[in-house]
C-alpha cells in the first residue's frame, strides 16, 4: 500500500474518488431528497435558535451538541468497523487537559486556537500508540472494548493523583481530582467562545455539521465498504488483500480525533475539566447514546446523543433518584428489543411496512 493509502486507506486506490463527495450511498441508512430537505430545515432551525432562544437553552444545547463529534466518531468506529470502544472519553480528556495546559501557558488570547489544534493532535497521537498495541497485537473483538475500558480507568487514576505541586506543567497545575479551573475559552479574532454566549453555539453546530457530513462521505467511499467488510469477516477481508490492522488503526485514530475535538470544545464551554470525565460512568455514556439511537446510522446517533442528554438532564431535574435507573432500563430494553437502535429499528419497521 502506498504512503497516501497508509494515511487514508482507500484514497490512493481510487484517486477519482476525491472529486465526488458521496454524501449518500448504500452504506448510510438515511438517503434521498426528502431526507436532505429535513436535514437542511433542522440545521437552519439550529442556526436561527440563538435569535429567539433563552441563554439557558443556548448554553445547554451547546453542552449537548459538543458531544456530537465524539459520538459520530464512535458510530464510525463501532457501527461501521465493528470496534466497540469505551476509550472515547479518554481521548476527550487527554485533549481537554492538553488544551487546558497549553492555553493557560500561552496566556489565552488568540494563541488558544493553536492550543486547540495541538490538543487534538495529542489526542490522536496517543490513540495511535494505544491502537498499535491493540490492533497490531490482533486482540480479539471482544477483548478490545475491555482494553479501552481499562485505558480510561487508568487515565482517571493517573489524573486523580496529580494534586501535588510536582504536577505543574509550566504555570498550569493539573489539580488532581479537583481538576483544572480558570481555563481560558477559545478565542478567535477577539471573539470569545465561552459557555454563556452564542459564538460557541454556532461554532459547535458548524463543527458537528462538518463532521456529520464528513463521516457520511467516509462511510460511502471505498474505505467505508472495507470497514463494513472487516466487521462482517476479518479473515475474508484479509484474504482479499486488505491490511485489516491498518484500517482498524486508522478508524480508531479518526474517532479519537473527533473525541479530542469534543474535549476541547467542552473545556472552552465550561472553563473546567476533571479526571471524572474519564471515569466509569462518563466512559460508558457515549456508548449508551450511540447504542440507543442506532450505531450504524449517523443521523440516528445525532438524534439520540442530543435526545438522551435532554432526557437525562430533564430526569435529573425532575426525576430525582430514578434518573440513572431509567437510563439503565432504557438501554437494556433497547438492546433487547431493537438491538440496532431505537431510531434505526423504528424507521426500518416503517419502511418495511410501506414498501
Amino acid at each position: 500500500m502506498s504512503k497516501v493509502g497508509l494515511l487514508m486507506p482507500g484514497v490512493a486506490d481510487r484517486p477519482e474518488g476525491l472529486r465526488e463527495l458521496r454524501l449518500h450511498g448504500r452504506l448510510t441508512f438515511f438517503n434521498g431528497p426528502v431526507y436532505w430537505v429535513v436535514v437542511a430545515v433542522v440545521v437552519a432551525f439550529a442556526l436561527a435558535l440563538p435569535s429567539f432562544g433563552s441563554t439557558f437553552l443556548i448554553s445547554n444545547l451547546t453542552s449537548f451538541y459538543l458531544n456530537l463529534p465524539l459520538t459520530l466518531g464512535l458510530a464510525l468506529l463501532w457501527g461501521y468497523a465493528g470496534i466497540l470502544s469505551f476509550g472515547q472519553m479518554a481521548f476527550f480528556s487527554i485533549a481537554g487537559y492538553s488544551y487546558a495546559v497549553l492555553a493557560i501557558n500561552f496566556g489565552g488570547g488568540s494563541w488558544t486556537l493553536l492550543a486547540a489544534t495541538l490538543a487534538v493532535a495529542v489526542g490522536m497521537v496517543v490513540a495511535a500508540a494505544f491502537g498499535y498495541f491493540v490492533f497490531f497485537g490482533r486482540v480479539s473483538g471482544l477483548i478490545a472494548p475491555v482494553l479501552t475500558f481499562v485505558l480510561t480507568l487508568i487515565l482517571e487514576t493517573f489524573l486523580g493523583q496529580t494534586a501535588g505541586p510536582e504536577w505543574k506543567i509550566g504555570s498550569a497545575p493539573l489539580g488532581g481530582y479537583n481538576g483544572m479551573t480558570n481555563i481560558p475559552s477559545v478565542e478567535i479574532a477577539g471573539m470569545t467562545f465561552n459557555g454563556l454566549t452564542a459564538p460557541l453555539y454556532y461554532l459547535v453546530v458548524l463543527i458537528s455539521l462538518a463532521i456529520f457530513l464528513g463521516m457520511r462521505v467516509v462511510a460511502n467511499r471505498r474505505v467505508g465498504h472495507v470497514l463494513a467488510a472487516i466487521q462482517i469477516d476479518v479473515e475474508r477481508c484479509e484474504l482479499l488483500g486488505h491490511d485489516v490492522r491498518i484500517y482498524q488503526l486508522w478508524v480508531f485514530v479518526i474517532a479519537a480525533g473527533a473525541a479530542s475535538l469534543s474535549g476541547v470544545l467542552y473545556v472552552s464551554w465550561g472553563n473546567y475539566i476533571t479526571p471524572a470525565n474519564a471515569g466509569m460512568l462518563a466512559a460508558t455514556l457515549p456508548v449508551l447514546w450511540v447504542a440507543v439511537g442506532g450505531r450504524a446510522s449517523f443521523t440516528a446517533v445525532v438524534l439520540s446523543t442530543v435526545g438522551l442528554q435532554f432526557a437525562s438532564n430533564w430526569l435529573a431535574a425532575f426525576g430525582g433518584q430514578y434518573s440513572l435507573l431509567l437510563m439503565g432500563a432504557l438501554l437494556l430494553l433497547t438492546m433487547m428489543f431493537a438491538p440496532g437502535g431505537l431510531v434505526v429499528g423504528l424507521i426500518g419497521a416503517l419502511r418495511a411496512r410501506f414498501s
Binding site: W78, L84, R138, S140, L142, I143, P145, V287, L325, G328
Partner: protein, 299 residues
C-alpha cells in the same frame, strides 16, 4: 527475617486471591459462552448484600456463603433466560445490555435498601509471626479461591455436565447434533459464573462496607486478569494471570507504594497483551494437553 518472608508470602497470597476471585466468574462465562458480563461487579455486590442481609437476620456467616452463591446463581440463570439468550449472535450487544443491567442493579439496590447496610463482622482474629501480625480471615481467602477452582475443575472434567459444557463451548452445532441441550447448558454456565461472583461478594463482605457500588472495586482488576488470562481455559487462565499480576504488583506495592504497584500491574498487562494477545491460557493450554497425553492421562 522469617517475619519479612512470611509477610511477603502473605501479601502475595492475599493479592492473588483477590485477583483470582474477582475474575473467576467473569472468565468462566467469557471462556464458556463468549459473553462479557459488564454487570459482573453488580453480581458480586448482590452476593455481598445477600450475605449482609442474612447475617443481620441472624444466619451464621459461613452458612450465608452457599446461600449467596445459590441466590446469585439463580439470578444469573434468570438473567440468561430473559436477557443474555437474545445476544448469542451479537456478543458486543450483550456487553452493552449488561451495562444497562448494571445501572439498574446498583441504582435499584440504592433505592430499595438505601445508601448502605451495616457491615458484617469479620470472623476470626489475627495471629502473630516474626514480629508481624496477620489476619486469619484474609489468610484463608487464597484457600477459598483454590477450593473454588478445584470445584470448577471437578465440574468441568469429572462430571457429565462438565463434558457437555466443554463440548458446547468447543462446537455448539456438533454438541447439539450429539443430543446436548445447549440452550440449557448456556443457562447453567451463566448461572455457575454468577454463583462464583456471588461467592466473591459473600467472602469479601466482611472486609468492607456494604454499599450499592460494592462491585466497582473488583471490575478493573477482574478485566485485567481476564484480558491477559484469556478465555481458552478459564481455570488455567485465571490462576496463571492472577499469579503473574500478583508477582508483579506485590513487591512494588510493598517496597515503593500502592500507586507504583498499580502502575506496574497495568504496564505488565499491556506488555503481556502485546506479546501474548490471546492470553496465557491459549499458550499454556496446548503444552499442558501434550504433557498430559505424554503421561498417558485421559483428557
Amino acid at each position: 527475617m522469617d517475619g519479612i518472608i512470611a509477610n511477603i508470602v502473605y501479601q502475595f497470597a492475599v493479592n492473588w486471591a483477590f485477583l483470582a476471585l474477582a475474575a473467576l466468574g467473569l472468565i468462566v462465562i467469557l471462556g464458556m459462552i463468549d459473553i462479557i458480563n459488564l454487570a459482573h461487579g453488580e453480581f458480586i455486590m448482590l452476593g455481598a448484600y445477600t450475605t449482609a442481609l442474612l447475617v443481620h437476620a441472624g444466619v451464621p456467616f459461613f452458612l450465608t456463603i452457599p446461600l449467596a452463591m445459590v441466590a446469585v446463581g439463580l439470578f444469573g440463570v434468570l438473567t440468561e433466560r430473559l436477557i443474555i439468550r437474545r445476544f448469542y449472535d451479537n456478543k458486543l450487544i450483550a456487553l452493552v445490555a449488561t451495562f444497562g443491567l448494571s445501572l439498574i442493579l446498583s441504582q435499584g439496590v440504592f433505592l430499595i435498601l438505601g445508601p448502605f447496610l451495616p457491615a458484617v463482622r469479620m470472623p476470626f482474629g489475627g495471629f502473630k509471626y516474626g514480629g508481624y501480625s496477620f489476619s486469619t480471615y484474609y489468610s484463608i481467602l487464597p484457600i477459598v479461591a483454590l477450593c473454588a477452582m478445584a470445584a470448577m475443575w471437578l465440574l468441568f472434567y469429572k462430571t457429565r455436565l462438565g463434558i457437555e459444557m466443554r463440548a458446547t463451548m468447543q462446537n455448539p452445532e456438533m454438541a447439539r447434533a450429539l443430543g446436548v441441550r445447549t440452550s440449557r447448558i448456556y443457562a447453567i454456565t451463566f448461572g455457575v459464573g454468577s454463583a462464583l461472583a456471588g461467592l466473591t461478594g459473600a467472602v469479601y463482605a466482611p472486609t468492607t462496607s456494604i454499599v450499592p457500588l460494592f462491585g466497582a472495586e473488583f471490575i478493573a482488576p477482574a478485566f485485567i486478569v481476564v484480558v491477559i488470562g484469556g478465555g481458552m481455559d478459564p481455570l488455567l487462565g485465571t490462576a496463571t494471570s492472577a499469579f503473574f499480576l500478583a508477582v508483579v504488583s506485590t513487591p512494588l506495592s510493598y517496597t515503593v507504594s500502592d500507586f507504583a504497584g498499580r502502575i506496574g500491574l497495568l504496564t505488565a498487562a499491556l506488555v503481556i497483551m502485546r506479546i501474548l494477545p490471546k492470553g496465557f491460557s491459549y499458550y499454556l493450554h496446548r503444552p499442558m494437553r501434550s504433557l498430559r497425553a505424554l503421561a498417558g492421562m485421559r483428557m
